[in-house]
């Protein structure tokens, strides 16, 4: 049985994100790109302290990617008089986030970044299916799935924390179904917000998530 242990959506104004990081860590996080800061704040909010040492995977998708950092890098490479600043190149590489997060989440064993190719579409169904498979295999004790975006004037973060054991307030469990559900919710970046709404005001006992690209694969949530 796979449990949904946390559902979380966060929005931070870019200029206020460092303060949120300081509040979460008790100190600033130096030289961390915006997506890294978002990932850290959200991951710590999803996992209580006593679970941060457990074997954990982080699967995070992004529509924006490190957009602002990439623009800075392009500007330096194409119009700068010298080579780019090393930090600007590092900040354009989203895979680096995991190494900066692990000291605060010692159980983090693996992180995968899924850049998205279409606006308003997401890969939640893939992330949750992989998380479910890996939890069933015992590969990890918990998997954090996220959608993180960083734009010039806003950031957004949506999180689902899954575990092979239920936390005290786990709101739902989930199953992977290989069939089509006509009333399924679409796979969009803010799916966790819709899931949170269903959890507080359920219109039915079950909720399904299905990507239009994968008619044979759906994620079924059942309230506990």
């Amino acid at each position: 049985m796979i449990f949904l242990n946390a559902v979380l959506s966060q929005q931070h104004a870019p200029e206020k994100l460092p303060a949120a990081v300081r509040a979460a860590l008790g100190k600033p996080l130096r030289r961390a790109a915006t997506l890294t800061q978002l990932a850290l704040v959200g991951a710590l909010a999803c996992l209580p302290k006593e679970r941060r040492h457990l074997p954990t995977a982080l699967l995070w998708q992004s529509t924006s990617g490190p957009r602002l950092e990439t623009l800075t890098l392009l500007e330096e490479v194409c119009h700068g008089s010298a080579e780019p600043m090393p930090y600007d190149f590092l900040a354009s590489q989203p895979a680096i986030a995991a190494a900066q997060i692990q000291p605060f989440l010692p159980g983090l064993q693996s992180a995968t970044h899924f850049p998205l190719d279409t606006e308003n579409e997401a890969n939640w169904s893939l992330l949750l299916t992989l998380a479910s498979n890996w939890l069933n295999e015992g590969r990890y004790a918990q998997v954090l799935c996220a959608h993180l975006d960083s734009w010039a004037e806003s950031t957004s973060a949506h999180w689902l924390a899954l575990g092979s054991t239920a936390l005290e307030n786990a709101p739902a469990n989930l199953h992977i179904r290989t069939m089509n559900y006509s009333a399924a919710l679409p796979d969009t970046p803010d799916f966790p917000a819709a899931l949170a709404h269903w959890l507080t005001q359920p219109s039915s006992r079950l909720l399904h998530l299905q990507s239009s690209a994968t008619p044979r694969l759906a994620v079924e949530f059942a309230q506990i």
Binding site: T63, G65, P66, V77, E83, P84, A98, Q100, P115
Partner: protein
């Protein structure tokens, strides 16, 4: 895992040739020359694709369609898993300011799917040098669980100045050539590649029996020199494959000629294998380090070599580094390899190991 997952077919274009067979022939013949790329006043060795000059997108399309044709017949609905660390940044460089980045960062994946005539789901992976194995890991998981029957996994890394300049700015590039495990190694040499594998639940010659990913948070730019995290991932992979270190007959190294990363990998290998190491092979002196494509490009290359029982030497290795104290293969071999371990050590702390096994 419930179903075994096989590598049903493959495709490749890289500096050594435009098919797996041509690449393996080139390696057997010891061809390892590289070209050059200019960056300001500096010049770096670089492994370019054997394609005629054209604009960036046209060149990308040539490479992708060429590799797609090698995969054989496939259902248009087959899911595409795409790995890259730079996607189409070379195109943006070519277009110049104002840089018009699309809203969705991996929009290039849609174009690649169109070039490959694939209309099914697309999933993109960007985990620096371990991107390819991350993509294979995901596809394999879905196939093993019965949620997919087939998947196409593509690794693509094409020339761009941003990556070259970024690595150059951090002083990680060699100015001479790639020398894995060598006493005089002085950095990595970048290259281009497009590579693909078709994974299937249907039995084929090669099976993936283990694949594990991990994380080394020692530094964002290099692994723990003791190699502990690298060893742990490989040991986890051996456990998944239910085999002992002694069952591994060949290791395809990450070894790119980086002073720090090569040492960490060597220390990890001693922890895994003790004093009885299997033959060690690095393919990067032939292909360059193709970053997000490297996992798949080196897997396809290795399979082509192993299928012919023609294992090349590790070009570029001349003098053992006393600190590393390991010798990669210096003589060609016709050994019939049953099981091989493939290592990836990624920029940013990503780690991955895979075990492939020949079906008898």
């Amino acid at each position: 895992m419930t179903r075994p997952v096989y590598i049903a077919s493959s495709g490749l274009i890289c500096a050594r040739g435009d098919s797996p067979a041509k690449v393996s022939q080139a390696l057997w013949a010891g061809e390892c020359t590289s070209g050059k790329r200019q960056l300001g006043e500096r010049e770096f060795p670089y492994f370019s694709l054997p394609l005629s000059e054209a604009d960036w997108l046209t060149r990308a399309e040539q490479a992708v369609t060429h590799v797609a044709a090698q995969l054989g017949p496939r259902d248009a609905e087959t899911p595409l898993f795409l790995a890259s660390s730079s996607f189409q940044i070379g195109h943006f460089e070519e277009q110049g300011a104002p840089f018009e980045l699309p809203i969705a960062t991996a929009s290039f994946s849609r174009r690649i799917a169109e070039w490959m005539h694939l209309s099914g789901p697309r999933y993109s992976f960007s985990n620096a040098c371990t991107s390819g194995f991350s993509a294979i890991d995901a596809a394999r998981s879905l196939i093993a669980a019965g949620q997919l029957d087939e998947a196409i996994v593509v690794g693509i890394e094409l020339a761009n100045r941003s990556t070259l300049a970024g690595f150059a700015a951090m002083e990680l590039l060699s100015r001479t050539h790639c020398q894995p495990f060598d006493a005089k190694r002085d950095g990595l040499v970048l290259g281009e590649a497009v590579a693909a594998v078709r994974l299937s639940a249907k039995p084929a010659t090669w099976r993936i029996t283990g694949l594990c990913t991990g994380l080394d948070a020692y530094s964002t730019t290099g692994p723990d020199p003791q190699g502990g995290p690298i060893a742990k991932v490989a040991v986890d992979c051996l456990k998944e494959a239910k085999i002992n270190p002694a069952d591994i007959e060949l290791v395809k190294l990450q070894a790119a000629g980086s002073p720090g990363t090569d040492l960490a990998e060597a220390n990890a290998l001693r922890q895994i294998f003790g004093n009885t190491l299997p033959p060690l092979l690095s393919l990067k002196p032939y292909l360059g380090h193709t970053l997000g494509a490297s996992g798949i490009a080196e897997l396809v290359t290795l399979l082509a070599c192993l299928t012919l029982d023609q294992i090349p030497t590790t070009a570029g290795f001349k003098k053992v580094d006393p600190e590393i104290a390991l010798f990669p293969m210096v003589d060609r071999s016709n050994a019939h390899i049953q099981r091989a371990l493939l290592n990836l050590i990624g920029f940013g702390g990503g780690l991955a190991s895979m075990i492939i096994e020949r079906r008898t």
